[in-house]
Amino acid sequence: MRVELENLTKRWGDAIGADGVNLEVDHGEFVAFLGPSGCGKTTTLLMIAGIYKPTAGVIRFDGQVVNKLAPKDRNIGMVFQSYALYPHMNVFQNISYPLKLKKVPQEEMRKRVERVAEMMGIGHLLDRKPAQLSGGQQQRVALGRALVKEPQLLLFDEPLSNLDARLRLSMRSEIKRLQLDLGITSIYVTHDQVEAMTMADRIAVMKDGKVQAYDRPEELYDRPRTLFIAGFIGNPPMNFVDVEVVQVDNTFHARRQGLDLPLPADRGEKAAQDRPVIMGIRPEDVSIADEGIAGEVYVVEPLGRDDLVDVQINGAHLRVLADPALNLRIGDQVKLKINTDKVQFFDPQTELSLLWN
């Protein structure tokens, strides 16, 4: 099913939940809503589900306006962070509830529930009450309940947030696999950018009720259009340094005290302004080298595979991913090499990218 949101807005008096959301989700696509807490992800999702009535704007399913359609008529499956299993029903009753409401005959209902339960690996738990299940099992039941009526649209509201890190990882790939196999259009709300990057075909980055960007994950990562997106996407987050970009002879240089970086011509040309700009550079694009910019190690955070090293250069801080074998200590003098093919530039006033707008 194809979903289109046009200028979708939700207000409660002065409080704004969603503010003119525009986007379309293609048939079979997996889209993530990504953004910090309170940015309107759940609000938008609940409007799509028909629980909230939009203050303004239009929701279309396959071209049909569904604003006035009751939730029960939208053929949607939904999975919640809280699982939202009915505590007084056992697993079988929970999963079969949507079918019961559709008046599916007993025999067919049993078959379909068993098939879904088998698919989710919870076939042996059908007699249990939700309180007798682990968090991961409960989430599988919730997923089963959402899938059993073969919905045309799946909505996920931070379904993995309550699970421990390892389970989250395996459920992540499982949900993705399932979605691919079944080909159901899906919208997945999360504030975990790794989840969004790994699972989604496209990501809608939200802030203050507005969609900041809506694009493929690689695009958002390599070509962030705003400072917010650049800072929000990527882990560890991008470094930002105030610089001046000047032209010396035929090359452009990014300069500040203790730093003079020759830039590739295409980026340098766009970044050259008559005032200071913000330079962004990801930690993995900076490396410790024999030659380069001189700095002093300020903090070392071991991450296991890498050390995240905070290097101070004349008052500016750069986080760098370094080889633990270097065994860096606080106070060590180091030299940094920056991959200038990957640097980003932003206008400090508008916070828009100077490269991609």
Binding site: L46, A49, G50, I51, Y52, K53, N67, K68, L69, A70, P71, K72, R74, I76, G77, M78, F80, S82, A84, Y86, P87, H88, Y97, P98, L101, K102, R145, K149, L155
Partner: protein
């Protein structure tokens, strides 16, 4: 999670439900206002507050006379001052208690705090009693009782302090003290207000004590009172009345209406539902005498009665005294309107405690509003439902004050007389001036026994122990 269902219904049918909710709320509000407060404002034939209270003497004294034969004891300004002083004194002592330092002064404050209200009340009760003696019966001592309870509390606190001081000097006593200390207030209440009276009642019911042989030595006459009770010509009638009264009021109002109200108010917007609930609480917080006076006004013959006033406007000529016409209807309405608010509050809070996600999930799963109520809300209200049913059965069983004030069990012979009312009348209220205390005690004791048996059955059948959750932390 405790916010009400703020989800905006999207469907036209949802909007209709909201409209119906608002409409019903409005009707309820108007009804309550008309029924309870307009008579006071001179709505009927220019007779208002003054008329209703005609003959009322509202002074500084502890007693208000309402009409011909009703007296309300309300306590005097002095008594309120004394109580305020007592509370302050208690606070002072409480603080000293927290500092773990008690002086002789604290003891003195305590004694004052404990005894002064008692003394004042003693005098005032006397005045009230005398006043009541002049006009008939004494009703409505609730304000006075509050004072008595406060005074008892003060004395009780003094006792605790003593025990505490004692335990400080005796460590072995101290170790077991905690358990007793936590149980003691409840034990005290049960003992003084239940066990002792029940034993007295049982003993009394085996005697021939009455105002006829008062002053002479009284005799134990075995089960004679019980034999007399069960062979009373009106015994079946009274039993039937009681069952009818309890079951009908319970099903239609204390549980039924309460549930409907809670569900309705959960589906309308927050401010409207608050107002609506407040209105349904009015009957409960209105003093019973006033409440009944209003209902009587409601049902009067022309030109006083409000029902008949409306009937007149509608051109209906049949305008009887409705209370005589349909006594049960009003007995049940009067009790039901008060009783519904208890369940309503319990159900409302239980409904609001249902996680919003569950409701959302059910709607997305394809449930209509009614199906959500049937499949999610009601099953999750199971315990509150059982609790309210149990509690209200017992309290209806022993309630009689509204019936006494409204119909006195009439009209005619035993038409609306219930068990508790019979017990009261036999013991304390007769047309011929003879108080058959012992015989009344027999009626009362059987009622208590029924109550206890019912409680045990409820506890068993509904497995109340399951209401008490297993502790999350294992006790080591």
């Amino acid at each position: 999670m405790s916010s009400p269902q703020q989800s905006d219904p999207v469907t036209p049918s949802g909007q209709k439900a909201v409209l119906v909710g608002h409409g019903l709320a409005l009707v309820g509000a108007v009804m309550a206002l008309v029924g309870f407060y307009l008579p006071w404002l001179g709505f009927v034939g220019g007779r208002g507050l003054v008329a209703t209270l005609s003959g009322a003497r509202i002074g500084a004294g502890p007693v208000i006379r309402l009409g011909e034969n009703v007296v309300v004891f309300r306590g005097s300004p002095t008594s309120y001052l004394v109580v305020v002083a007592a509370v302050i004194a208690l606070l002072v002592v409480g603080l000293a208690f927290r500092r773990r330092r008690l002086t002789g002064w604290d003891g003195l404050t305590l004694i004052t705090a404990g005894l002064l209200p008692l003394l004042v009340l003693w005098g005032q009760f006397g005045a009230a009693q005398r006043e009541a003696g002049k006009v008939g019966i004494l009703i409505q001592t609730q304000y006075g009782l509050v004072l008595v309870y406060l005074a008892l509390l003060a004395v009780f606190a003094a006792g605790i302090l003593h025990v505490r001081n004692y335990s400080r000097q005796n460590p072995s006593f101290r170790n077991t003290l905690g358990a007793y200390a936590f149980m003691s207030p409840a034990t005290f209440l049960v003992l003084v207000f239940f066990l002792i009276p029940v034993v007295l009642l049982a003993v009394l019911s085996l005697t021939d004590l009455s105002s006829a042989n008062f002053g002479e030595p009284w005799n134990f006459i075995g089960l004679e009172n019980y034999r007399r009770m069960f062979s009373d010509r009106f015994f079946p009638k009274i039993l039937g009345n009681t069952i009818f009264y309890v079951v009908t009021t319970l099903v239609f109002f204390n549980v039924g209406l309460a549930l409907v109200l809670a569900l309705l108010t959960a589906h309308i917007n927050r401010r409207a539902s608050f107002f609506f609930r407040l209105i349904w609480l009015l009957p409960r917080i209105t003093p019973s005498v006033v409440y009944i006076v209003m209902w009587k006004r409601f049902t009067q013959v022309p030109p006083y009665g409000i029902i008949n006033q409306f009937a007149g406007w509608l051109g209906i000529d049949y305008q009887p005294y409705w209370l005589n016409e349909a006594p049960w209807v009003f007995v049940i309405l009067v009790n039901g309107f008060v009783g519904a608010s208890f369940g309503m509050i319990i159900f409302t809070s239980a409904i609001e405690a249902i996680p919003k996600d569950l409701i959302t999930a059910a709607k997305v799963d394809g449930a209509s509003t009614l199906q959500v109520i049937r499949d999610i809300t009601l099953p999750m209200l199971r315990w509150p439902l059982l609790f309210v049913t149990t509690y209200q059965t017992l309290s209806l069983l022993v309630s009689f004050e509204y019936i006494l004030l409204l119909t006195q069990g009439g009209p005619g012979l035993y038409t609306t007389e219930v068990w508790a009312l019979t017990a009261y009348k036999r013991a304390l209220f007769t047309y011929f001036g003879s108080n058959q205390w012992a015989y009344g005690a027999a009626w009362g004791f059987v009622l208590v026994a029924i109550g206890i048996v019912l409680s045990i059955i409820y506890l068993r059948v509904f497995q109340f122990d399951q209401l008490v959750q297993e502790p999350k932390i294992d006790v080591l």
